[in-house]
Symmetry: C2
DNA sequence: ATCCAAAGATGAAATAATGCAGTTTTTAAT
DNA sequence: ATTAAAAACTGCATTATTTCATCTTTGGAT
């Protein structure tokens, strides 16, 4: 057997997916899932799921930060959402099993394991509580991206960038001070504006004392005022 | 018994919801659903589901056109998506049953019937194929709104308005010529720009021969060029 | 038919955002 | 340590968008 495909990075007993699953399904059934699953590691920038490809598996993201990326007809990228572990990636295809609507890429080193869609579906169909739990994972990601979009759709760039800073601080890095894993270009693809506009705006926030910029390191000094800018005051 | 609550506008035997349901569940079970259900009619502008309210029922929309509306902290409205019958409204709460995230309003006269969430959930939990079918209804609406947002997030107003015109023509009115059920203000709330910008842009398209504007009546004369504008050419 | 209110339309000034061209800094490779 | 390439930054001209003031049309109410 090919050792590369069977490399173990962590013990499944420590994994949240096992913990949650075993609240609903039998250990033997979980073992079936596990036997079909492979642990994987992704470096920053690596593509986890490719837009347009047939999705044959989910990925349970155990560690790391990812982006959902949509590439349009002109090759322009749009980041739909940024999520951190734990998350079930690729679930949008559980119901309508077709091709991946978006790419998923690691923006920090990631760790997780593949999950066989066909098998998970079969198990979930026989256990509706488990099915609902899996669906919750999936709709959580949908919901978070919709609220990002609401911000995009009716705020100006100041407000959108303030929103993103607050989002990253409160939902991803869980601190007022963080090292941004996004390039300015990616930030712009998330904010729906040009990279120059991101740079100008971040600099303005820095000059006004709202944030402190030191290359990739960002400190939010005045979340209150950022919230006011977000609310378009 | 109060006659008003039992008014019948149409025969359930003609209803797609019955047809679909009865492919999966027993007639007797459908009768239970029907016995808890009430037929309703909504005039243009009426609120079907109210943002923030506890959702006690779904609505199967049998006829008409609706908008999903999100009102922000400042009272500004954003139209997330426009959908036509048939559709299952309120389904976003099937999985995470909490409060309505958005309002749903009729933008054309609508007809439909309420469906008891608790009962539908109970039946669906015992019949996973039916559950999947219901989930498909729900995710369809999610998906359509996400693609609207992609257009919003990385196109300029010309492209967004072209997108909306094409969307309305191909997905809602199913014709190159239609009477717009949205006011200019609502169009702007869908396009994420000012109403003046909508008016200016529609007028420009009219002057360039792309469309013909006659008040609420719009004819798309050159879908090819609109598509080019949408693709930002 | 008349009036009123709401929606639609218009143009111009003010503001916001983009795109460019060039510079500096950072990062990675040798 | 040196170099090359990529990313970050800057200021400015151009373009896009909003906002405002004003005017016209439309569709109900009475």
């Amino acid at each position: 057997m090919d050792q590369i495909n069977h490399q173990r990075y962590y013990d499944c007993d420590d994994c949240l997916f096992k913990t949650i699953s075993c609240q609903y399904i039998q250990k033997e059934e979980f073992e079936k899932l596990r036997s079909k699953s492979v642990q994987l590691r992704y470096k920053k920038g690596e593509v986890i799921l490719k837009q347009g490809a047939k999705s044959t598996h989910f990925l349970f993201l155990r560690k790391g930060i990812i982006k959902f990326n949509y590439e349009d007809e002109n090759g322009k990228n749009l980041i739909l959402s940024i999520n951190k572990a734990p998350a079930l990636i690729g679930g949008a295809n559980l119901v309508n099993a077709e091709f991946n609507l978006f790419s998923v890429c690691a923006i920090e080193e990631c760790e997780g394991c593949t999950i066989d869609v066909a098998l998970l579906t079969r198990i979930a169909l026989g256990n509706t509580l488990y099915l609902f739990k899996m669906l919750q994972f999936i709709t959580d990601i949908f919901r978070s991206s919709i609220f990002n979009f609401i911000s995009l759709a009716h705020k100006q760039v100041n407000g959108r960038i303030a929103d993103i800073l607050i989002f990253l601080s409160q939902n991803i890095y869980l601190s007022n001070s963080f090292v941004l894993s996004l390039s300015r270009q990616e930030f712009a693809e998330f904010a729906g504006c040009s990279k120059e506009n991101v740079i100008h705006t971040l600099r303005k926030f820095h000059n006004e004392g709202l944030i402190t910029l030191e290359g990739k390191k960002i400190v939010l000094n005045d979340t209150e005022r950022l919230l006011k800018i977000s609310k378009h005051g």
